[in-house]
Structures are given as C-alpha cells and as structure tokens.
C-alpha cells in the first residue's frame, strides 16, 4: 500500500532541509545602537565581477561594494572634491612626474596586518598589472615605498588624472596576504569600514556586511550593518521600494521615477553620461561624407534634442551639444545652443557640402534601445540621410564600434574628469576614437592641458571644448539624469562625480 501521509511528510522535510543550504539576508531597518542605526539596505544594479583588485576593481555602479571593504588612498567628499584618506598629504615634484604620498600609520587590514607603504605599492602594482577595467590608467607608472609611510608614483609624463584616479578604483588597497588566495575574488580582505559576511551573502545577489570594529575612522560609519541587494529587473526594484524593503535604490529606468516618488521616496540626482551620436570617421575613410565638417554640423542640426529627451528619458536630463560635463572647467553653457534644431538649414548645409540628395549612413542598432534607433533614423531621414542599421549581435556592440566597423554610432558615454575624458574619447589614442583621428589643433590643446600650468590648462580645455563643438566631432543629445532614490528614514548627499552614491554619504534621519 502506498503511504501517502508518510511520503508527503518526507517530501516536506526534504524540501525544508534543502532550503536550509541556501544563503541570503533579511532586511531590518530598525534599531539604534550607540549613535549608529542598525542597518542600511541598498539596491544596486550590478554586482562586482571580482573583489580582487587585480581582476575586478571598479567604481561607477559597483563602487559601493569596494568602498565597503577597502580604503582608497584619497577620497572625494559629497561635493566631489578630493580629500585625504589613507594618504594624508600628496604633492608633485616640479615637472609633475613624481607624486609623493604620505600615509596614515594607524591603519590595519582585517587580517590584523598593518597597512603600510609596501602594502600600498603591492596593491598599485597588482592593479596596474591586472585586468580590471581601468588597469590601463596605471600603465607605465612605477611605485616605490620610500619608508613605511611614504610612497612615490613615478611616471614618464604628467598625468593630470592621477590624483582623481587614486580616489577611485586604482587607489584601492587590498591586504597583501590575500593576493595569492583565489577566494579573494569573493572574500575580500581590506581595511575598509565593513567586513563582508560571506556566510550570509549570496554572491551576485545579496551582500551582507558588518561594521569593522577596528576601523580607523569610525565617525564616518553610520550603520552597524550594511546589506546590498543586486537587482537587475526594474520591476523588482520598484516592488522592493514600494514594499519598503530597502533604504536606498539606484533607479535604472528614469521612467519609473513618478512611481518611486509616489511611494514616498525622494530622488537625488546627478548627470554623468551623455547620449548621442559619435561621428567617429572624421577623416572619411569609411564614410567620405563625414570628412566634411558641414555634414557633421548638419547632423547636429537634425535632432530635436528636447523631444528626444522627453521621449527617451521622460524629460529627466539636460539637453547638451558638448561632451564635457557641467562640472568641468571646459564647460560653457553657451555652446549648448550652437546647433538649433533646424532640418531645413541642415538640408541646405548638406546641399552646400555637395549632398543635395543626402546619403546613406551605416550604423549599428541593438534591440534594447530600439526606440532610440528609430527616432535617430527618423530625424536623420528628415534631412535626407538614410540610416542603414545592422544589429551586431549580442555582446558585440562596443567591440564592433571600436574595431571600427561603422563610421558613426549612437552611444551613451561617461563624462569623466577632463584628462580621463580626453583619453577616453578625444585624444588620438583614446578608446572611443577608434579611427585614431588626429587634428593638430586638438593635439595642441591636449599638450597644453598635460604640460601647462593650471591656468593654461583651464584655458586650453575651454578652447578644446569649443573647437570640438564647432568641428562637430560628436552630436550629443542630452546628459542623462542619474537617479538614486532614498526612503523617508534616510538622508543622502549624492556626489556629482559617480553613478552610485558614496556609502559614507548615507545617514539615518533620526
């Protein structure tokens, strides 16, 4: 006879036992202890690829994971200004090729070892020689421990972005004892304000941290526990917000902001990325039409930027025609009205350039941004340019762009600090200058930025920005609003320089 009751009981017990094997965390936003709140629960949209700084150190939308367990040599405050952190002082030599850092002498890693100059040099070398996304920013630099609290960074030529880099991923310091441990990818050892509780965390999904009891700077730690839940699904993020299951959440889709605000949450924002066209083939090797500045200018005049911002971001952002951000010394608000939306004038300019009947432009499309591609094609068609789209297939969009296989492309790009931005999308060796287009005027400005005085560099940056807009190297549409939501119990000062807030800028309201 089949024993239904016994079988059912066994099955239930088996199911219960199986669930006991899983990790995970439960959020609890209440409680106070010694001036600190009990727990801060955040929602992120991307998990770290590896905690090993030689493999996965990143800032941007992953900064919170690294800030929690590691310290950086320098830091940025809520307004984005560089401040001392592990390094209390820093100074350049006369020709800006040697940076000397003075370290604190009271910091220990969570494995009990002292954080000294040797450890810092080890981390800097590990980052430089590894495969983290920004590893190339440290290429060619040499590091030396002068004494226990002094480190020098020597470079062949001045790098105006170095100090900034030391406040983000390249400046992270990992305990040398974990360098040879393969598990350091998921079990970090640093000197940071929190310690990862690996047992209750689920890698890729839920990260639970407890405050580091021996942290050298306890005043900045405002919560005893930190939980970061990774959610890639927009619906899940909004549901968690509505159900009050977090204190802060990155808003991946600005179209959900009204729903989030409706749940009583506050939106803090900054602007870090621009969306628009990269007119890459400025020498016309693939699309001869783009070699003519009039054609590039006509393309800039084809776009109704306000309408695009409204359609694609529900109006959350600011229209722009320049690639330098508002925080840059190069920024000039007047440049944002260089190319008014005027299809007729654009058509006249194309005719003047010798293309009265327009031409066909090859670009890539990808299903995730189909609306954008449709609108771009429609606006370009209005001035006589026929866009021929090709879907490069999953995961090939950036690869094909940088190959380069297309003369122009739509893209969303970070607006980094000036020198990083130049090396990212302007300079002859920049990642997003795949045709290696070179212009003597641009090269001159770049040289002044690198080797000139602070004042000379500032002037050169302004002139460079104006030149890029006039020469229509790009056709930016708008800067996208980066949005972060916090609940009624949490205060946040959202720094203007990163996609995810600093974990030190959250504080309990009561």
């Amino acid at each position: 006879m089949f024993r239904w009751k016994a079988t059912a009981a066994v099955a239930v017990i088996a199911a219960l036992a199986l669930t006991g094997c899983a990790g995970g965390g439960e959020t609890d936003n209440t409680g106070d202890d010694g001036g600190r709140a009990d727990r801060l629960t955040l929602i992120s949209i991307a998990a770290p690829t590896s905690y090993d700084i030689g493999q996965g150190a990143e800032w941007g939308n992953r900064s919170e994971f690294f800030q929690a367990v590691f310290d950086t040599l320098l830091s940025k405050d809520a307004s984005g200004e560089i401040q001392p952190w592990l390094a209390t002082e820093w100074s350049y030599n006369e020709d800006n090729t040697v940076l000397t850092l003075t370290l604190r002498d009271d910091v220990t890693f969570t494995d009990g070892e002292a954080l000294d100059a040797d450890a810092v040099v080890g981390s800097l070398e590990r980052f430089r020689d590894g495969t983290s996304p920004q590893a190339a920013t440290m290429a060619g630099k040499e590091f030396a421990a002068v004494d226990a609290t002094t480190v020098t960074i020597t470079q062949t030529a001045p790098d105006p972005s170095l100090v900034n880099l030391l406040s983000i991923a390249p400046g992270l310091v990992q305990a040398p004892s974990s360098f040879d441990d393969a598990d350091s990818a998921t079990t970090p050892v640093g000197s940071g304000p929190y310690i990862l509780d690996s047992a209750s965390s689920v890698t890729g999904t839920t990260y639970n941290y407890t405050a580091n009891p021996d942290y050298w700077n306890p005043d900045v730690v405002k919560y005893d526990n930190l939980t970061i839940n990774v959610m890639e699904d927009t619906t899940a993020i909004v549901n968690a917000i509505k159900a009050g299951e977090a204190n802060g959440a990155k808003i991946a889709d600005n179209n959900t902001i009204s729903e989030v605000e409706g749940a009583g949450w506050t939106i803090e924002s900054n602007e870090l990325d621009f969306q628009g066209l990269l007119l890459l083939d400025r020498a016309g090797t693939m699309a001869p039409e783009l070699a003519d500045v009039k054609v590039r200018q006509a393309i800039n005049m084809a776009f109704d930027r306000e309408a695009l911002l409204q359609s694609l971001q529900s109006g959350y952002g600011t229209v722009t025609e320049q690639v330098f951000p508002e925080t840059s010394v190069a920024y000039d608000a007047a440049l944002d009205s260089t190319y008014a939306y005027d299809p007729d004038a654009a058509k006249a300019l194309l005719a003047d350039a010798g293309y009265p009947d327009g031409f066909t432009l090859s670009m890539m499309s990808t299903p995730a941004f189909q609306t954008t591609f449709d609108l771009v094609a429609q606006q370009l068609a209005d001035i006589g340019i026929t866009v021929k789209y090709t879907d490069p297939g999953t995961g090939n969009f950036i690869t094909d762009m940088l190959a380069p296989k297309y003369p122009a492309t739509w893209m969303a790009l970070e607006q980094n600090p000036d020198w990083q931005l130049i090396n990212f999308m302007v300079g002859p060796a920049a990642t997003f200058n795949p045709f290696k287009y070179q212009d003597d005027t641009v090269d001159g400005y770049i040289e002044t930025v690198q080797f000139g005085t602070e004042e000379e560099a500032a002037t050169a940056l302004k002139e460079l920005n104006k030149y890029l807009v006039d020469q229509a190297w790009f056709a930016p549409f708008f800067r996208v609003q980066g949005s972060f939501a916090v609940d009624a119990n949490t205060e946040l000062a959202f720094w203007p320089t990163n996609a995810y807030p600093s974990i030190f800028d959250f504080s309990p309201k009561n």
Partner: protein, 313 residues
C-alpha cells in the same frame, strides 16, 4: 530493478555529455566579445586582449571544451567570469532555493490537483464545470502576470509577504515562508490547472472500467474504490504529467525568480546567459540535465510502485 536503474543512469550520463557539448558550442557561437562585456566600455583594447587571454578565450574551441570536461570530471566547474565565485558553490546555493520553490509548487499542485480532479470526476455537473473553467483560466493566464498580481496585492498593498528577496529557513522560518509563499503560488496555479484536468480525465476513464463495477458489486464503499483502486490506475498518466510539470516549473522559476528577485537557478540562468558567463551556464546546464534525468527515473519508479502492471524493463 537494479539493472533498470543502472541502465537509466548510464543513458543519463550519455545525455548529460551530449547536452554539455551542444551547450558549449552554442554558447561560444553566440557569445560575442565576452572580455569586453566583463570589462565594460572603460577598458582599453589592450586590457580586453589581456582578459581574453587570461580566460583562455583565444584558444581553439575543442581545446577549451576538453579542458572544461577534464576539470568537470574532477569536480572543478571553474569560477564565474562575472562574480569570481566557484560555479559549484553558485549552483549548489541556488539549487536549494529553486528546489524549495519547485518542490513546494509540485507538492501543492499534486495535492490540489488530485482533490479537484477527483471532485470534478465524481460530482460532475456544476462542480465539474467549475473545476474545468478554473483549470482553463489557470492554464491561460501567464505565470508572470499571476506573480505581478500577487506582489501588488499581498506584498505591496497588504504587506503580508515579502515583495523581493529570499530568507533561508535556517535564518527565520517566518521569513522563509514570507519569501516563498507568493512565488510558490505563482508557480503552482498553472500546474494545478494542467494536472487537475489530467486527474479528472483519468479518474473518469478508470471508473468506467469493468473492475470498478466488480469492486462496487462486492460492496466496497465509494471512497475505498476511488482512493485505493481507481487512483492507482489513474495515477500513472497524472504522474507523467506531474513530471513534465516539475521540469516545466524549473523553467517557470526563471520568470518568477526575476520578478521576486529570488537568488535561485532561474535568476542565475537569466543573468549568466545574458552576460555570457559560460562557466556558470555550463554548470547550470549540467545541474538541470541531472535533475531531469533523476526526476524521470523517480517517476518511473513511482509508476511501478503505484501500479504492479508496470514493468521496469
């Protein structure tokens, strides 16, 4: 029976080997530039090339597959390219979460399906009509819509359950129930609809057989006839459908885990497939294939236990 089990296990091993090779080839064919995807737009071409070499992606496909098979045989499925976690740990942790949902949904759908199916078959008339109508509705409404409705009503508006996340039972029984109840209901409804209809049909078919008339003529009560004899005969087809449902629920968990942000195999499948995290996808493929082989074997054994006429050969 032992030789039957051994033969089935052997064929299962062959099946897993074939599936692993096909999955490997398909993943690499559609993988795109994985190193660029790991590193993002900030990385230079040199760093991307270095990462490609580090992962061994510049080597011939067969050499990469050979290495994977060799490592897999020693129990080393590698590490995730996107989180650095051991694949065996990733899959094991999430397997427990997903199985708790799928086993829960299977148990609930099995119990309710039998009750509803027998009720519909025995009572007929309005009860039958109602059960059939509800089955149709349950079958027709997609699981993700049911999940969204449940979250909106019972988690967000009423606050009875968690809207997102998973609490291990070892941490809190109440928290666990709060986190799995809605996903299990969302998963169960479609399965109940399908299996209840199957049970109903099988019971009606079995009750019209001669042996049932004979049993009744010997004075056996209706309950005894149904539960001791009819269900044994009707159980075979229903079990087969339940097995298919179990496997289907693993697929259903993909959507439900995304909506409830539950760290299970479904969510891991979506993420690793989208990203191109080949070591993790391969680990998941093996895990899913093994589960399907084992479930089918168990169902065959259960069929034999239920019905002595079934021979394991």
């Amino acid at each position: 029976m032992l030789s039957f089990i051994l033969r089935r296990l052997l064929s299962g091993v062959v099946l897993v080997a074939v599936i692993s090779f096909l999955a490997f080839v398909l993943l690499y064919m559609g993988g795109g530039d994985i190193a660029r995807r790991i590193l993002g737009e900030n990385a230079t071409a040199e760093t991307v090339a270095k990462k490609t070499e580090e992962l061994g992606l510049n080597r011939p496909l067969l050499a990469q597959y050979g290495d994977w098979v060799t490592s897999a045989f020693t129990g080393d499925l590698g590490r995730s390219w996107f989180t650095g976690e051991l694949v065996s740990v990733s899959v094991t942790n999430r397997l427990a979460v997903t199985l708790s949902l799928v086993i829960g949904a299977t148990l609930i759908s099995a119990i309710l399906s039998v009750i509803l199916g027998v009720l519909a078959a025995r009572r007929g008339g309005a009860v039958d009509g109602t059960v059939q109508f509800l089955s149709l509705i349950g079958f027709a409404i997609p699981g993700f819509l049911i999940a969204l409705f449940l979250v909106l009503v019972f988690a967000i508006n009423l606050g009875w359950f968690k809207a997102t996340g998973y609490v291990p039972i070892a941490t809190s029984v109440g928290g666990w129930l709060s986190s799995v109840t809605l996903p299990i209901i969302a998963l169960s409804i479609g399965a109940i609809a399908t299996v209840a209809a199957q049970v109903r049909g099988s019971v009606i078919d079995a009750t019209s057989r001669d042996y049932v008339r004979t049993l009744r003529s010997r004075g056996l009560g209706d309950g005894s006839v149904i539960y001791k004899h009819v269900l044994r005969n009707a159980g075979g087809p229903a079990l087969a459908v339940l097995a298919v449902q179990f496997v289907g629920l693993l697929g259903g968990a993909v959507v439900v885990e995304q909506i409830f942000a539950i760290p299970g195999m479904g969510q891991l499948s979506v993420r690793s497939t989208t990203l191109g995290d080949i070591p993790v996808v391969m680990g998941l493929v093996i895990a899913f294939a093994v589960i399907v082989v084992i479930v089918n074997l168990l169902i065959d054994l259960a069929q034999a236990a239920l019905n002595p006429k079934v021979r394991l050969s």
